[in-house]
């Protein structure tokens, strides 16, 4: 009996502790019973995205609202970002079709649309006035949502990389926001040499860039390289030559970018090459960074409670260069009006639309009634009434992508941003969006291999000091060429050209 009592205690105590930790002292929530008269009563939508909490959080929150309004049940399934691409592709290719809605990177569209896995949404979009399609920024409509002239996704997020700087530090040290990458290095170096600290004695680093391997570092280096490689407008492309489909990553321009990228490490946190975006964002809001490269998230995270960078966060378009690549010779040459027609005061800016913004698509194999509900759900999330609020909340991971979100700053000031900060932040995004020299992210079949494996792997070795810039560029060129030969040069070139058909 004593043994039995001990056994019961052993089982009961941890169970009680777990129960106490897990459940708030409220009555258990009853699943909402869909009213029979609701439009999508009894329909279940399975949606997959990455295990944020960003992106998943608004999907769950808006999903609940959508359920209450329509009777549909929305299940949000999350997987780590690194697994999302192949998880979706495996599900589609094997005919499992577990997911009705996918919220993913538009970069992967080629791999999903070409085999015919995604529903063409063109007619649904045209028939949905509540979506206010024309309010969505032209870039997101044309790049994130469209493939071969047909609409396949509903944009939920707008993604560009920008440079953020600490306005208070710039003022104190008499530094101007960086216009060129040399300015960026000078700014970072000046802060680093000052050995500034936060109020609680933590060091302030000159520059914080997420450089972790197999994470998002390859976008960061592309942000640096873009201004050196592309100068003739979006259609020129910044990854491959439009005639030969030879990589543009083995020349003086990319070498310069590599050296800049590596030099920033000197002014960053000691473990910068093991920091992912979440880590650098944490450092920014802790007031420990003077400069960073990031998507729009920093602007909203900086105004969240507890942030030490509130009203001290300035944003500018990605810095540019006064020298660009001469593609015939592979040399860096000075900008001329012919060579850099879009330069501003002699500086060629090439803002990089890294990732392209989270977008929602519908599985073509889903049942017709589920597709209807799924479209209504995506439309609901994207409609201005919802999205104009969500883009002002840092934890959603959503950044502005609608014209109304740039024109009206009320939502931003309501969210806690000062008027100046809002204008600064939205101004930088708008400047990127309006740039005729925007660099489109790679969207060819198996871009995940080109960027996530070859480029990322080579950059990681370069940052770790395992190889020099020349070996890094050679490795990228050889790796990309090999994959191109495997997949077919002509086919890849045709898709690449098609994706660059977007002109602003």
């Amino acid at each position: 009996m004593k043994k039995m009592n001990r056994l019961l205690t052993l089982i009961a105590v941890p169970a009680m502790v777990l129960a106490a930790c897990a459940a708030p002292p409220t009555a258990p929530a009853q699943p909402a019973q869909p009213a029979a008269d609701k439009k999508f009563a009894g329909i279940t939508i399975n949606a997959i995205t990455f295990s944020g909490p960003q992106i998943a959080e608004p999907m769950q929150r808006r999903g609940k609202e959508f359920s209450e309004a329509t009777g549909a049940t929305v299940n949000v399934i999350t997987v780590p970002f690194a697994d999302l691409y192949q998880k979706i592709l495996n599900d589609f290719a094997t005919g499992t079709n577990s997911y009705d809605v996918i919220v993913f990177a538009p970069q992967w569209m080629g791999d999903y649309i070409e085999p015919g896995y995604l529903e063409d949404l063109t007619d649904r979009v045209k028939a949905d006035p509540d979506l206010q399609w024309e309010d969505i920024g032209p870039f997101f409509r044309d790049f994130s949502a469209t493939y071969n002239g047909r609409i396949y996704t509903i944009p939920l997020d707008g993604d560009f990389q920008m440079v953020y700087y600490r306005t208070d530090i710039a003022k104190d040290l008499g530094l101007a926001p960086p216009r060129t990458w040399d300015d960026y290095l000078a700014f970072a170096k000046a802060v680093s040499e000052k050995k500034l600290t936060t109020d609680d004695g933590k060091p302030v680093y000159g520059s914080c860039i997420a450089k972790k391997k197999a994470a998002q570092s390859y976008w960061m280096v592309t942000s640096v390289a873009s201004a050196f490689i592309q100068s003739q407008g979006t259609g020129q492309g910044a990854f491959f030559d439009l005639e030969t489909f030879k990589p543009l990553y083995n020349n003086e321009a990319f070498e310069k970018a590599l050296n800049i990228y590596k030099e920033t490490t000197q002014y960053g946190p000691p473990d910068e090459i093991n920091l992912d975006v979440g880590d650098t964002r944490g450092l920014w809001t802790a007031g420990q960074c003077a400069l960073t490269i990031d998507w729009g998230d920093i602007g909203t995270l900086a105004i969240e409670e507890g942030s030490k960078a509130r009203d001290k966060t300035g944003a500018v378009i990605l810095p540019g260069s006064t020298q660009v690549l001469d593609r015939k010779t592979g040399k860096l040459v000075d900008c001329t009006p012919e060579l850099c027609p879009h330069a501003i005061d002699g500086v060629n800016h090439a803002p990089f639309a890294a990732f392209g913004g989270w977008s929602g698509a519908i599985n073509k194999a889903s049942k017709p009634e589920v597709k209807d509900a799924a479209f209504a759900y995506l439309s609901y999330m994207s409609q201005p009434a919802q999205s104009n609020v969500d883009v002002t909340i840092g934890k959603t991971g959503f950044n502005p992508y609608r014209i109304s979100q740039f024109k009206d700053i009320t939502n931003w000031t309501n969210a806690g941003m000062s008027e100046q900060a809002a204008k600064d932040y939205l101004g930088a995004i708008e400047a990127s969006l309006n740039s005729p020299n925007m660099v489109l992210d790679l969207r060819i079949p198996q871009n995940q291999y080109y960027q996530g494996i070859v480029l990322d792997g080579a950059i990681a070795k370069f940052l770790a000091g395992e190889q020099d810039a020349a070996a890094t560029m050679k490795e990228i060129e050889e790796g990309w060429e090999q994959k191109t030969e495997e997949l077919g040069r002509d086919k890849q070139l045709a898709v690449y050209k098609a994706t660059l058909g977007v002109q602003k």
């Binding site: 691409y85 198996q446 995940q448 070795k461 090999q482």
Partner: protein, 377 residues
């Protein structure tokens, strides 16, 4: 009755020949088990070999599988991925050369012994092939790890984790087991405590160590500052990162060694120990000549099991460093996983086959070495 008699007579005078059903019965009973083995073990092995020689592409209406022969292996062994797999080979240091010469001498001696013992041609060839492979592996290790300019690839990093991890896990596990086998106060409590790390999933251990090892905001930050190491980041340093991974792995798997060795220690016969004490043997002599031989069979099996498992390490390097800095902490499994995520399924399967070959080769060598040592066949 007549029928029975007749049947008995037939049985007694002629070769037993049952009906078709009777003759097929053994095969029919065995077939399900054979099919299960074929389906679960042999078939996936063959299929994955086919995948390792293929290139998969997702296209309209399904998956296109293109047979490419040895191309995936060629890419790994002599192509663009060679540096990732083998690392950067360079002139070995004097210690490296000594090590290589030592191994080569041993191997040549083994081949000579096989020839002298007049073993079969097949056995000599097999031993020679094994010797060449082992010398090759040793050269790979000395040209990357014991070389100032060298850098180990995923193959050597994996072997490093296995060798260092298992050695330390065994030694620490044995030490703890010896302690807990004593009649010390609180030993029952510590038995449970020492087992706890094994109960945590490897992913959990990865995140635990990631938090602990965060020198910026982790709980040990004040210690780093106190030691004047605030500007040092283990994650930037190849050996720092490898050590971090090894510490996590050792922390997690030492309990496995501990619990099995404790059972072995407690199961050993007390009479020889008591006799040795009466004869005035020291503690070290008792351990060296009685305890160690007693637990040797368990130890060899334990090391073999852990070795096979340790070759598959992925969670810790994946969570702690994603295989970085550079390729410093990347293991074969993590490498395979990384390219599998980018849908290079053929390349990933080829790496898996290289790993299978490596594990089989080293495990076979280990088992043979133990057999020779114990004088069994």
């Amino acid at each position: 009755m007549a029928t029975l008699t007749s049947s008995s007579a037939v049985t007694a005078t002629a070769k037993p020949r049952g009906s078709l059903g009777e003759r097929a019965a053994p095969a029919a009973f065995l077939l399900p088990a054979v099919l299960v083995v074929l389906f679960l073990s042999i078939f996936p092995l063959i299929l994955s070999l086919f995948l390792a020689m293929s290139r998969l592409r997702f296209e309209a209406g399904g998956v296109q599988v293109q047979f490419v022969g040895w191309d995936n292996f060629r890419k790994l062994l002599v192509g663009t991925e060679q540096k990732v797999l083998f690392g950067t080979l360079s002139e070995p240091s004097p210690i490296g050369w000594l090590l290589l010469i030592g191994v080569a001498t041993l191997m040549l001696a083994a081949i000579y012994r096989a020839v002298r013992e007049a073993r079969s041609v097949g056995a000599v060839i097999a031993r020679t092939a094994a010797a060449i492979l082992l010398i090759g592996l040793t050269y790979l290790i000395v040209a990357t790890l014991f070389s100032p300019e060298g850098r180990p690839g995923t193959l050597v990093v994996t072997m490093l984790y296995v060798a260092v991890g298992i050695t330390l896990q065994y030694l620490i596990g044995l030490g703890l087991a010896l302690l807990c086998a004593q009649q010390l106060p609180g030993r029952r409590f510590f038995r449970v405590v020492f087992l706890l790390p094994m109960m945590i999933t490897p992913v959990g251990v990865g995140y635990l160590f990631r938090m602990l090892a965060d020198t910026n905001k982790g709980p040990l930050e004040p210690v780093w500052i106190m030691l004047g190491m605030q500007d040092f980041a283990w994650a930037n340093n190849a050996w720092g990162a490898r050590v971090a991974v090894m510490i996590g792995d050792i922390w997690q798997w030492t309990p496995f060694m501990f619990i099995v060795l404790l059972a072995a220690l407690e199961g050993q016969s007390v009479e020889p120990v008591e006799a040795a004490i009466v004869d005035g043997a020291s503690n070290w002599q008792i351990f060296r000549h009685i305890t160690l031989p007693a637990i040797l069979p368990v130890s060899t099996t334990l090391i073999l099991i852990r070795m096979i498992e340790a070759f598959k390490i992925i969670d810790l390097p994946n969570i702690l460093t994603n295989g970085g800095p550079g390729t410093a902490t990347e293991t074969l499994t993590l490498y395979a996983y990384r390219i599998w995520r980018a849908l290079d399924i053929g390349g990933s399967a080829a790496i898996a086959y290289i790993l299978l070959f490596l594990v089989t080769f080293i495990a076979t060598l280990y088992v043979r070495a133990i057999r020779n040592r114990l004088g069994t066949t």
